[in-house]
Subunit: 213 residues, 2 copies
DNA sequence: TTGACAAAAAATGTATACATTTTAAATTAG
DNA sequence: CTAATTTAAAATGTATACATTTTTTGTCAA
Protein backbone atom coordinates (compact mmCIF):
# COMPACT_ATOMS: atom_id res chain seq x y z
CA UNK A 1 0.00 0.00 0.00
CA UNK A 2 1.07 3.55 -0.58
CA UNK A 3 2.83 5.18 2.34
CA UNK A 4 0.72 8.28 1.85
CA UNK A 5 -2.45 6.29 2.46
CA UNK A 6 -0.95 4.44 5.38
CA UNK A 7 0.10 7.65 7.07
CA UNK A 8 -3.25 9.21 6.25
CA UNK A 9 -5.11 6.46 8.07
CA UNK A 10 -2.62 6.20 10.92
CA UNK A 11 -2.59 9.91 11.57
CA UNK A 12 -6.36 10.16 11.40
CA UNK A 13 -6.71 7.36 13.88
CA UNK A 14 -4.10 8.82 16.19
CA UNK A 15 -5.89 12.12 16.19
CA UNK A 16 -9.20 10.48 16.98
CA UNK A 17 -7.61 8.45 19.77
CA UNK A 18 -6.20 11.71 21.08
CA UNK A 19 -2.65 10.51 20.77
CA UNK A 20 -2.14 14.01 19.44
CA UNK A 21 -3.93 16.34 21.78
CA UNK A 22 -6.42 18.96 20.63
CA UNK A 23 -4.75 22.31 20.13
CA UNK A 24 -1.36 20.81 19.48
CA UNK A 25 0.55 22.07 16.47
CA UNK A 26 2.04 19.37 14.29
CA UNK A 27 4.94 20.23 12.03
CA UNK A 28 6.05 18.27 9.00
CA UNK A 29 9.42 17.49 10.58
CA UNK A 30 7.83 16.28 13.75
CA UNK A 31 5.44 13.91 12.03
CA UNK A 32 8.04 12.76 9.51
CA UNK A 33 10.39 11.85 12.36
CA UNK A 34 7.67 10.23 14.44
CA UNK A 35 6.24 8.07 11.67
CA UNK A 36 9.57 7.51 9.92
CA UNK A 37 8.56 8.80 6.51
CA UNK A 38 9.64 11.70 4.37
CA UNK A 39 8.10 15.13 4.65
CA UNK A 40 6.52 14.76 1.22
CA UNK A 41 4.35 11.96 2.51
CA UNK A 42 3.46 13.97 5.58
CA UNK A 43 2.49 16.95 3.48
CA UNK A 44 0.09 14.93 1.38
CA UNK A 45 -1.53 13.31 4.38
CA UNK A 46 -1.79 16.63 6.19
CA UNK A 47 -3.51 18.28 3.24
CA UNK A 48 -5.94 15.42 2.82
CA UNK A 49 -6.80 15.49 6.51
CA UNK A 50 -7.16 19.24 6.47
CA UNK A 51 -9.76 18.97 3.74
CA UNK A 52 -11.74 16.66 5.98
CA UNK A 53 -11.51 18.74 9.11
CA UNK A 54 -9.10 16.51 11.04
CA UNK A 55 -6.46 19.23 10.95
CA UNK A 56 -6.77 22.96 10.61
CA UNK A 57 -4.32 25.48 9.24
CA UNK A 58 -2.29 27.26 11.88
CA UNK A 59 -0.91 30.50 10.54
CA UNK A 60 1.84 29.95 8.05
CA UNK A 61 3.52 27.04 9.73
CA UNK A 62 2.22 23.81 11.13
CA UNK A 63 -1.21 22.36 11.32
CA UNK A 64 -3.27 22.26 14.44
CA UNK A 65 -5.35 19.49 15.90
CA UNK A 66 -8.81 21.00 16.23
CA UNK A 67 -10.73 20.94 19.47
CA UNK A 68 -14.36 20.07 20.04
CA UNK A 69 -17.23 22.46 20.44
CA UNK A 70 -20.96 22.07 20.82
CA UNK A 71 -21.40 24.82 18.25
CA UNK A 72 -19.44 22.95 15.60
CA UNK A 73 -21.26 19.71 16.32
CA UNK A 74 -24.57 21.51 16.04
CA UNK A 75 -23.56 23.00 12.72
CA UNK A 76 -22.48 19.65 11.33
CA UNK A 77 -25.73 18.01 12.43
CA UNK A 78 -27.74 20.83 10.96
CA UNK A 79 -26.06 20.25 7.63
CA UNK A 80 -26.74 16.53 7.83
CA UNK A 81 -30.34 17.30 8.64
CA UNK A 82 -30.56 19.57 5.65
CA UNK A 83 -28.95 17.24 3.13
CA UNK A 84 -29.51 13.62 4.03
CA UNK A 85 -33.30 13.54 3.81
CA UNK A 86 -32.88 15.14 0.41
CA UNK A 87 -30.49 12.42 -0.65
CA UNK A 88 -32.84 9.69 0.52
CA UNK A 89 -35.74 11.36 -1.25
CA UNK A 90 -33.91 11.28 -4.55
CA UNK A 91 -32.60 7.80 -3.91
CA UNK A 92 -35.84 5.93 -3.22
CA UNK A 93 -36.99 6.09 -6.82
CA UNK A 94 -33.97 4.18 -8.10
CA UNK A 95 -33.27 2.02 -5.10
CA UNK A 96 -32.80 -1.66 -5.81
CA UNK A 97 -33.51 -4.61 -3.58
CA UNK A 98 -29.88 -5.54 -3.88
CA UNK A 99 -28.98 -2.27 -2.22
CA UNK A 100 -31.56 -2.80 0.49
CA UNK A 101 -30.07 -6.19 1.09
CA UNK A 102 -26.62 -4.73 1.32
CA UNK A 103 -27.84 -2.26 3.91
CA UNK A 104 -29.44 -5.06 5.86
CA UNK A 105 -26.18 -6.98 5.87
CA UNK A 106 -24.36 -3.96 7.19
CA UNK A 107 -26.94 -3.41 9.88
CA UNK A 108 -26.74 -7.04 10.93
CA UNK A 109 -22.99 -6.83 11.14
CA UNK A 110 -23.11 -3.67 13.22
CA UNK A 111 -25.70 -5.16 15.57
CA UNK A 112 -23.79 -8.41 15.94
CA UNK A 113 -20.43 -6.91 16.71
CA UNK A 114 -20.48 -5.51 20.17
CA UNK A 115 -17.35 -3.78 21.36
CA UNK A 116 -16.50 -1.95 18.19
CA UNK A 117 -13.90 0.74 18.39
CA UNK A 118 -15.56 4.15 18.03
CA UNK A 119 -13.17 4.51 15.14
CA UNK A 120 -15.00 1.83 13.18
CA UNK A 121 -18.51 2.51 14.36
CA UNK A 122 -18.57 5.84 12.60
CA UNK A 123 -17.24 4.31 9.41
CA UNK A 124 -19.82 1.52 9.44
CA UNK A 125 -22.60 3.94 10.22
CA UNK A 126 -21.65 6.00 7.21
CA UNK A 127 -21.46 2.92 5.02
CA UNK A 128 -25.00 2.07 6.03
CA UNK A 129 -26.35 5.50 5.25
CA UNK A 130 -24.30 5.73 2.09
CA UNK A 131 -25.80 2.50 0.81
CA UNK A 132 -29.24 4.00 1.16
CA UNK A 133 -28.34 7.26 -0.56
CA UNK A 134 -26.17 5.83 -3.30
CA UNK A 135 -28.89 5.52 -5.92
CA UNK A 136 -29.73 9.21 -5.77
CA UNK A 137 -27.07 9.64 -8.47
CA UNK A 138 -25.84 12.92 -7.10
CA UNK A 139 -22.07 12.58 -6.77
CA UNK A 140 -21.48 16.01 -5.30
CA UNK A 141 -24.13 15.52 -2.68
CA UNK A 142 -22.70 12.14 -1.76
CA UNK A 143 -19.23 13.62 -1.49
CA UNK A 144 -20.45 16.37 0.81
CA UNK A 145 -22.22 13.84 2.98
CA UNK A 146 -19.11 11.68 3.18
CA UNK A 147 -17.17 14.71 4.34
CA UNK A 148 -19.80 15.57 6.91
CA UNK A 149 -19.81 12.07 8.34
CA UNK A 150 -16.03 12.20 8.51
CA UNK A 151 -16.23 15.32 10.57
CA UNK A 152 -18.91 13.98 12.81
CA UNK A 153 -16.88 10.81 13.23
CA UNK A 154 -14.16 12.91 14.79
CA UNK A 155 -16.48 13.44 17.71
CA UNK A 156 -17.29 9.79 18.16
CA UNK A 157 -13.91 8.99 19.63
CA UNK A 158 -14.49 11.77 22.09
CA UNK A 159 -18.04 10.94 23.02
CA UNK A 160 -18.17 7.77 25.02
CA UNK A 161 -21.87 7.92 25.45
CA UNK A 162 -22.26 6.62 21.92
CA UNK A 163 -22.61 3.08 23.09
CA UNK A 164 -25.73 3.93 25.05
CA UNK A 165 -27.35 5.27 21.90
CA UNK A 166 -26.28 2.33 19.76
CA UNK A 167 -29.38 0.25 20.48
CA UNK A 168 -31.82 3.03 19.71
CA UNK A 169 -29.88 3.79 16.57
CA UNK A 170 -29.92 0.20 15.37
CA UNK A 171 -33.66 -0.06 16.00
CA UNK A 172 -34.33 3.04 13.95
CA UNK A 173 -32.09 1.82 11.18
CA UNK A 174 -34.07 -1.41 11.06
CA UNK A 175 -37.35 0.46 10.97
CA UNK A 176 -36.01 2.66 8.21
CA UNK A 177 -35.17 -0.38 6.11
CA UNK A 178 -38.57 -1.85 6.74
CA UNK A 179 -40.31 1.31 5.56
CA UNK A 180 -38.16 1.45 2.46
CA UNK A 181 -38.80 -2.16 1.64
CA UNK A 182 -42.52 -1.54 1.76
CA UNK A 183 -42.31 1.53 -0.42
CA UNK A 184 -43.33 3.95 2.29
CA UNK A 185 -40.79 6.50 1.18
CA UNK A 186 -42.48 9.49 2.76
CA UNK A 187 -42.42 7.89 6.18
CA UNK A 188 -38.88 6.74 5.63
CA UNK A 189 -37.68 10.26 4.91
CA UNK A 190 -39.52 11.53 7.98
CA UNK A 191 -37.97 8.84 10.14
CA UNK A 192 -34.51 9.58 8.80
CA UNK A 193 -34.99 13.24 9.61
CA UNK A 194 -35.99 12.42 13.16
CA UNK A 195 -33.14 9.94 13.44
CA UNK A 196 -30.50 12.51 12.49
CA UNK A 197 -32.05 15.19 14.67
CA UNK A 198 -32.11 12.86 17.67
CA UNK A 199 -28.52 11.74 17.30
CA UNK A 200 -27.43 15.33 16.80
CA UNK A 201 -29.31 16.64 19.80
CA UNK A 202 -27.83 13.93 21.98
CA UNK A 203 -24.31 14.73 20.88
CA UNK A 204 -24.77 18.47 21.30
CA UNK A 205 -26.32 18.13 24.73
CA UNK A 206 -23.51 15.92 25.88
CA UNK A 207 -20.92 18.37 24.61
CA UNK A 208 -22.64 21.28 26.30
CA UNK A 209 -22.63 19.39 29.59
CA UNK A 210 -18.93 18.68 29.15
CA UNK A 211 -18.21 22.26 28.28
CA UNK A 212 -19.95 23.68 31.34
CA UNK A 213 -18.40 21.15 33.70
CA UNK B 1 3.98 34.76 -4.12
CA UNK B 2 4.25 31.03 -3.75
CA UNK B 3 4.60 29.13 -6.96
CA UNK B 4 2.02 26.66 -5.77
CA UNK B 5 -0.57 29.39 -5.53
CA UNK B 6 0.45 30.91 -8.84
CA UNK B 7 0.10 27.62 -10.63
CA UNK B 8 -3.16 26.92 -8.84
CA UNK B 9 -4.70 30.11 -10.16
CA UNK B 10 -3.14 29.84 -13.60
CA UNK B 11 -4.23 26.27 -14.09
CA UNK B 12 -7.73 26.97 -12.86
CA UNK B 13 -8.06 29.88 -15.23
CA UNK B 14 -6.66 27.90 -18.14
CA UNK B 15 -9.16 25.14 -17.51
CA UNK B 16 -12.03 27.60 -17.40
CA UNK B 17 -10.83 29.26 -20.59
CA UNK B 18 -10.75 25.80 -22.14
CA UNK B 19 -7.06 26.03 -22.86
CA UNK B 20 -7.10 22.48 -21.58
CA UNK B 21 -10.03 20.78 -23.23
CA UNK B 22 -12.66 18.83 -21.33
CA UNK B 23 -11.81 15.16 -21.23
CA UNK B 24 -8.11 15.72 -21.61
CA UNK B 25 -5.82 13.90 -19.22
CA UNK B 26 -3.14 16.05 -17.65
CA UNK B 27 -0.03 14.40 -16.26
CA UNK B 28 2.35 15.91 -13.77
CA UNK B 29 5.22 15.87 -16.26
CA UNK B 30 3.16 17.55 -18.91
CA UNK B 31 2.05 20.38 -16.66
CA UNK B 32 5.45 20.75 -15.05
CA UNK B 33 7.05 21.14 -18.46
CA UNK B 34 4.38 23.47 -19.75
CA UNK B 35 4.38 25.82 -16.78
CA UNK B 36 8.10 25.44 -16.06
CA UNK B 37 7.81 24.31 -12.47
CA UNK B 38 8.67 21.15 -10.62
CA UNK B 39 6.28 18.26 -10.33
CA UNK B 40 5.89 18.87 -6.60
CA UNK B 41 4.25 22.19 -7.32
CA UNK B 42 2.02 20.59 -9.93
CA UNK B 43 0.97 17.88 -7.52
CA UNK B 44 -0.14 20.37 -4.88
CA UNK B 45 -2.07 22.45 -7.37
CA UNK B 46 -3.67 19.37 -8.89
CA UNK B 47 -4.84 18.10 -5.54
CA UNK B 48 -6.25 21.47 -4.56
CA UNK B 49 -8.10 21.76 -7.84
CA UNK B 50 -9.39 18.22 -7.54
CA UNK B 51 -10.94 19.05 -4.19
CA UNK B 52 -12.80 21.88 -5.87
CA UNK B 53 -14.02 19.92 -8.87
CA UNK B 54 -11.75 21.53 -11.48
CA UNK B 55 -10.02 18.22 -12.04
CA UNK B 56 -11.16 14.69 -11.47
CA UNK B 57 -9.15 11.58 -10.76
CA UNK B 58 -8.49 9.44 -13.79
CA UNK B 59 -7.64 5.91 -12.81
CA UNK B 60 -4.25 5.65 -11.21
CA UNK B 61 -2.42 8.11 -13.40
CA UNK B 62 -3.19 11.61 -14.47
CA UNK B 63 -6.06 13.90 -13.75
CA UNK B 64 -8.83 14.61 -16.17
CA UNK B 65 -10.46 17.88 -17.08
CA UNK B 66 -14.13 17.30 -16.36
CA UNK B 67 -16.81 17.99 -18.91
CA UNK B 68 -20.09 19.77 -18.48
CA UNK B 69 -23.47 18.22 -17.96
CA UNK B 70 -26.91 19.57 -17.29
CA UNK B 71 -27.31 16.93 -14.61
CA UNK B 72 -24.28 18.13 -12.69
CA UNK B 73 -25.32 21.76 -13.00
CA UNK B 74 -28.75 20.88 -11.73
CA UNK B 75 -27.28 19.06 -8.76
CA UNK B 76 -25.02 21.97 -7.87
CA UNK B 77 -27.90 24.41 -8.08
CA UNK B 78 -30.07 22.16 -5.99
CA UNK B 79 -27.42 22.16 -3.29
CA UNK B 80 -27.12 25.92 -3.43
CA UNK B 81 -30.88 26.15 -3.17
CA UNK B 82 -30.84 23.92 -0.15
CA UNK B 83 -28.03 25.62 1.73
CA UNK B 84 -27.84 29.29 0.88
CA UNK B 85 -31.26 30.36 2.16
CA UNK B 86 -30.32 28.57 5.36
CA UNK B 87 -27.11 30.55 5.60
CA UNK B 88 -28.91 33.83 5.05
CA UNK B 89 -31.51 32.90 7.61
CA UNK B 90 -28.86 32.38 10.26
CA UNK B 91 -26.93 35.43 9.14
CA UNK B 92 -29.62 38.09 9.33
CA UNK B 93 -29.70 38.11 13.11
CA UNK B 94 -26.06 39.12 13.39
CA UNK B 95 -25.69 41.13 10.22
CA UNK B 96 -24.10 44.53 10.65
CA UNK B 97 -24.64 47.67 8.58
CA UNK B 98 -20.95 47.59 7.79
CA UNK B 99 -21.46 44.26 6.09
CA UNK B 100 -24.46 45.54 4.19
CA UNK B 101 -22.36 48.46 3.06
CA UNK B 102 -19.62 46.14 1.94
CA UNK B 103 -22.15 44.19 -0.10
CA UNK B 104 -23.44 47.41 -1.64
CA UNK B 105 -19.92 48.39 -2.65
CA UNK B 106 -19.42 45.04 -4.30
CA UNK B 107 -22.71 45.28 -6.13
CA UNK B 108 -21.88 48.80 -7.34
CA UNK B 109 -18.52 47.61 -8.57
CA UNK B 110 -20.05 44.67 -10.42
CA UNK B 111 -22.72 46.87 -11.99
CA UNK B 112 -20.22 49.53 -13.00
CA UNK B 113 -17.72 47.24 -14.62
CA UNK B 114 -19.13 46.04 -17.90
CA UNK B 115 -17.01 43.62 -19.87
CA UNK B 116 -15.82 41.50 -16.97
CA UNK B 117 -14.18 38.23 -17.81
CA UNK B 118 -16.52 35.38 -16.87
CA UNK B 119 -13.58 34.30 -14.77
CA UNK B 120 -14.01 37.26 -12.45
CA UNK B 121 -17.78 37.57 -12.59
CA UNK B 122 -18.19 34.32 -10.74
CA UNK B 123 -15.65 35.30 -8.13
CA UNK B 124 -17.30 38.66 -7.52
CA UNK B 125 -20.73 37.08 -7.39
CA UNK B 126 -19.51 34.73 -4.69
CA UNK B 127 -17.92 37.58 -2.76
CA UNK B 128 -21.25 39.36 -2.76
CA UNK B 129 -23.17 36.36 -1.50
CA UNK B 130 -20.45 35.49 0.97
CA UNK B 131 -20.60 38.94 2.47
CA UNK B 132 -24.29 38.41 3.18
CA UNK B 133 -23.82 34.97 4.70
CA UNK B 134 -20.66 35.68 6.66
CA UNK B 135 -22.33 36.57 9.90
CA UNK B 136 -24.11 33.24 10.15
CA UNK B 137 -21.02 32.04 12.03
CA UNK B 138 -21.12 28.59 10.49
CA UNK B 139 -17.64 27.97 9.09
CA UNK B 140 -18.42 24.55 7.64
CA UNK B 141 -21.49 25.82 5.85
CA UNK B 142 -19.54 28.74 4.43
CA UNK B 143 -16.80 26.44 3.26
CA UNK B 144 -19.30 24.18 1.50
CA UNK B 145 -20.89 27.17 -0.17
CA UNK B 146 -17.52 28.45 -1.32
CA UNK B 147 -16.84 25.06 -2.87
CA UNK B 148 -20.23 25.02 -4.55
CA UNK B 149 -19.73 28.44 -6.04
CA UNK B 150 -16.33 27.34 -7.28
CA UNK B 151 -17.91 24.48 -9.07
CA UNK B 152 -20.69 26.55 -10.52
CA UNK B 153 -18.11 29.10 -11.61
CA UNK B 154 -16.58 26.43 -13.79
CA UNK B 155 -19.70 26.63 -15.93
CA UNK B 156 -19.62 30.38 -16.28
CA UNK B 157 -16.69 30.34 -18.67
CA UNK B 158 -18.65 27.88 -20.73
CA UNK B 159 -21.99 29.60 -20.70
CA UNK B 160 -21.84 32.79 -22.73
CA UNK B 161 -25.41 33.65 -22.06
CA UNK B 162 -24.39 34.87 -18.64
CA UNK B 163 -24.13 38.45 -19.78
CA UNK B 164 -27.78 38.51 -20.71
CA UNK B 165 -28.73 37.49 -17.18
CA UNK B 166 -26.38 39.95 -15.56
CA UNK B 167 -28.90 42.80 -15.42
CA UNK B 168 -31.66 40.72 -13.91
CA UNK B 169 -29.17 39.36 -11.41
CA UNK B 170 -27.94 42.79 -10.38
CA UNK B 171 -31.50 44.04 -9.94
CA UNK B 172 -32.35 41.12 -7.68
CA UNK B 173 -29.18 41.63 -5.69
CA UNK B 174 -30.13 45.25 -5.15
CA UNK B 175 -33.62 44.30 -4.05
CA UNK B 176 -32.17 41.73 -1.71
CA UNK B 177 -30.01 44.35 -0.05
CA UNK B 178 -32.94 46.68 0.26
CA UNK B 179 -35.04 44.04 1.97
CA UNK B 180 -32.20 43.22 4.35
CA UNK B 181 -31.61 46.86 5.18
CA UNK B 182 -35.26 47.24 6.14
CA UNK B 183 -35.24 44.16 8.30
CA UNK B 184 -37.59 42.17 6.08
CA UNK B 185 -35.60 39.03 6.52
CA UNK B 186 -38.39 36.64 5.61
CA UNK B 187 -38.90 38.27 2.25
CA UNK B 188 -35.16 38.45 1.73
CA UNK B 189 -34.78 34.72 2.21
CA UNK B 190 -37.67 34.09 -0.15
CA UNK B 191 -36.16 36.34 -2.77
CA UNK B 192 -32.78 34.68 -2.44
CA UNK B 193 -34.40 31.31 -2.94
CA UNK B 194 -36.12 32.50 -6.08
CA UNK B 195 -32.93 34.16 -7.26
CA UNK B 196 -30.90 30.98 -6.99
CA UNK B 197 -33.64 28.87 -8.54
CA UNK B 198 -33.94 31.24 -11.49
CA UNK B 199 -30.23 31.38 -12.19
CA UNK B 200 -30.02 27.62 -11.88
CA UNK B 201 -32.94 26.95 -14.17
CA UNK B 202 -31.50 29.27 -16.78
CA UNK B 203 -28.14 27.53 -16.69
CA UNK B 204 -29.66 24.06 -16.81
CA UNK B 205 -31.98 24.92 -19.70
CA UNK B 206 -29.13 26.37 -21.68
CA UNK B 207 -27.02 23.28 -21.08
CA UNK B 208 -29.85 20.98 -22.11
CA UNK B 209 -30.26 22.91 -25.33
CA UNK B 210 -26.55 22.63 -25.99
CA UNK B 211 -26.58 18.94 -25.23
CA UNK B 212 -29.40 18.16 -27.61
CA UNK B 213 -27.97 20.31 -30.39
C1' DT C 1 12.48 46.93 31.87
C1' DT C 2 10.80 47.52 27.35
C1' DG C 3 10.98 48.05 22.64
C1' DA C 4 12.87 47.56 18.18
C1' DC C 5 16.06 45.44 15.36
C1' DA C 6 19.24 41.87 13.87
C1' DA C 7 20.83 37.31 13.70
C1' DA C 8 20.06 32.45 14.10
C1' DA C 9 17.12 28.62 14.23
C1' DA C 10 13.37 26.15 12.48
C1' DA C 11 9.71 25.57 9.47
C1' DT C 12 7.78 25.17 4.88
C1' DG C 13 8.44 25.58 -0.25
C1' DT C 14 10.84 23.78 -4.21
C1' DA C 15 13.91 21.13 -7.20
C1' DT C 16 16.33 17.05 -8.45
C1' DA C 17 17.25 12.20 -8.23
C1' DC C 18 15.74 7.67 -7.47
C1' DA C 19 12.09 3.84 -6.66
C1' DT C 20 7.91 1.90 -7.54
C1' DT C 21 3.88 1.37 -9.97
C1' DT C 22 1.22 1.57 -13.99
C1' DT C 23 0.51 1.72 -18.77
C1' DA C 24 1.65 0.65 -23.37
C1' DA C 25 4.00 -1.92 -26.70
C1' DA C 26 6.07 -5.71 -28.55
C1' DT C 27 6.91 -10.39 -28.89
C1' DT C 28 5.68 -15.03 -28.89
C1' DA C 29 2.80 -19.13 -28.23
C1' DG C 30 -1.56 -21.12 -29.53
C1' DC D 1 -4.82 -13.54 -36.23
C1' DT D 2 -5.76 -13.54 -31.30
C1' DA D 3 -4.47 -13.67 -26.73
C1' DA D 4 -1.37 -13.90 -23.16
C1' DT D 5 3.08 -12.84 -21.38
C1' DT D 6 7.12 -10.22 -21.25
C1' DT D 7 9.58 -6.02 -21.79
C1' DA D 8 10.14 -1.24 -22.24
C1' DA D 9 8.46 3.27 -21.53
C1' DA D 10 6.13 6.58 -18.95
C1' DA D 11 3.75 8.00 -14.99
C1' DT D 12 3.38 8.67 -10.06
C1' DG D 13 5.36 7.89 -5.31
C1' DT D 14 9.16 8.89 -2.28
C1' DA D 15 13.52 10.56 -0.42
C1' DT D 16 17.16 13.84 -0.11
C1' DA D 17 19.17 18.31 -0.79
C1' DC D 18 18.67 23.10 -1.24
C1' DA D 19 16.02 27.76 -1.10
C1' DT D 20 12.95 30.66 0.89
C1' DT D 21 10.05 32.10 4.38
C1' DT D 22 8.74 32.40 9.05
C1' DT D 23 9.53 32.23 13.75
C1' DT D 24 12.19 32.67 17.58
C1' DT D 25 15.95 34.24 20.14
C1' DG D 26 19.11 37.38 21.65
C1' DT D 27 21.19 41.86 21.73
C1' DC D 28 21.38 46.66 22.20
C1' DA D 29 19.66 51.19 22.81
C1' DA D 30 16.22 54.21 24.88
Amino acid sequence: MLKKQQLYHQLKQDIQLQHWAAGQVLTQHQLARHYAVSRIVVRDAQHALMNEGWLVAHGKAGMQVPGFSAAEAEELCMLRLQLEPLALQHAVANMSYSQLGQAEDLLAYITASNSLAPYQRGELNWQFHHTLYQSCAKPHLLRLLAQLHQQVARYLGYQEQVQAYADTSAAEHAELLSLLRHGKSGLAVALLTRHIAEAGALLVQWLQKQQSA
